[in-house]
Symmetry: C2
Subunit: 203 residues, 2 copies
Amino acid sequence: MSNLTEPEKKILDAARKVFEINGYAGARMQEIADEAEISKASLHYYFRSKENLFERIFDETMTDFMQLVSTWNDDSEDWEAKLRRFICEFFSFLKTKSLLFIIGEINRNPDLLLSRRKKSKPKAKFIEYFERLQANGKVEPVNMYVIYIFMHSLCSYPILNSRMFQMTTGLNNHDFEQFMKEYPDQVADLLIFSLKRGLKETR
Amino acid sequence: MSNLTEPEKKILDAARKVFEINGYAGARMQEIADEAEISKASLHYYFRSKENLFERIFDETMTDFMQLVSTWNDDSEDWEAKLRRFICEFFSFLKTKSLLFIIGEINRNPDLLLSRRKKSKPKAKFIEYFERLQANGKVEPVNMYVIYIFMHSLCSYPILNSRMFQMTTGLNNHDFEQFMKEYPDQVADLLIFSLKRGLKETR
DNA sequence: ACCTTTGTTGACCATTTGGTCAAACCATAT
DNA sequence: ATATGGTTTGACCAAATGGTCAACAAAGGT
């Protein structure tokens, strides 16, 4: 399956860790080598260059991300339960793989997205699904692009910026952790309610 | 007022620009000097070191940010209008000063926040204000920390990650721009509605 | 005119860092 | 044992980069 040798996996794990913390420019090949418990020369034996290693991590993250985001099987499950489950899984994923450095690198070099435009239509399924429900009168007529962006923002940003939120809310580690455990359900509540009642008072 | 000489201002503008795009590690003193149209030696004449320059930018951004976020004058204005105006102003601010690199640096070195903990209680006014309204029965009993985080996430993330949203929505530049122009009002609608009706069905 | 203070810069330096390479190491087959 | 092919690494290199400095220019006061 994974098609990767043991040392390659170890290196990729180390590289992800170092890149996520330091970004491309701040990452050091020596640090990646140390983290993978090999010499810098060995690191270059497995991966030609820093650029090469970065591309592997970037591609892997984007692929996983796109795959998760475009997962939306059209089973018969209740749409509310489906949405809630999706939000919780999405949130868990974001805690695992930090998108911060990915976003940073994309901002620095937008071409990184161009190369993947072909295989990425993640919004399609999600939005099409709810537009269908909308047509059937099951949910309110709200702009689904807005809902889509709301969902991403509400799930991603609190993780990206958790440090500042912890500071500004003044919660201690334990309370904040508890808060974040309940958080995805609050997001689900909000989005479900919005889909059922719209974004504002109907006049 | 500004207490800064002309060349200092020019350098700080240049530095902000370069740091925002490249982060601390990726920023080059030469590039900042070029952007400010002076020599690298002159740059060091005005600002001892890269670290020093970074601190200036970081502090300035954090100060502006905290000041904006903690602005919440207790005038008699309708709370809905007040919230809507705040969201629009917040959104405009975030378009001007990119928080992406700030968040990255904080993640890399959380101590950057510790030094400023004293002068920062930005949540206080906002949350206290709405908790007071809540006590008076003007808004629904929802967790105000959640509302606070929702507001920040909804305003910040679409700007941070605008490139990916533009790609995944498939909107062209013009349509996306239009979409983002209407966006803050949608956020305001949602939050106002949530405060008036709660986050989910009352049972 | 001369001096002092402030600003400006090319040339230079020390360190860091991505990347290379030849030599050594190790397993396995012959 | 010897050869072979993959793996590992210390030593090394060239380029990039933050920072310094002496020399020079500009401005203003006397």
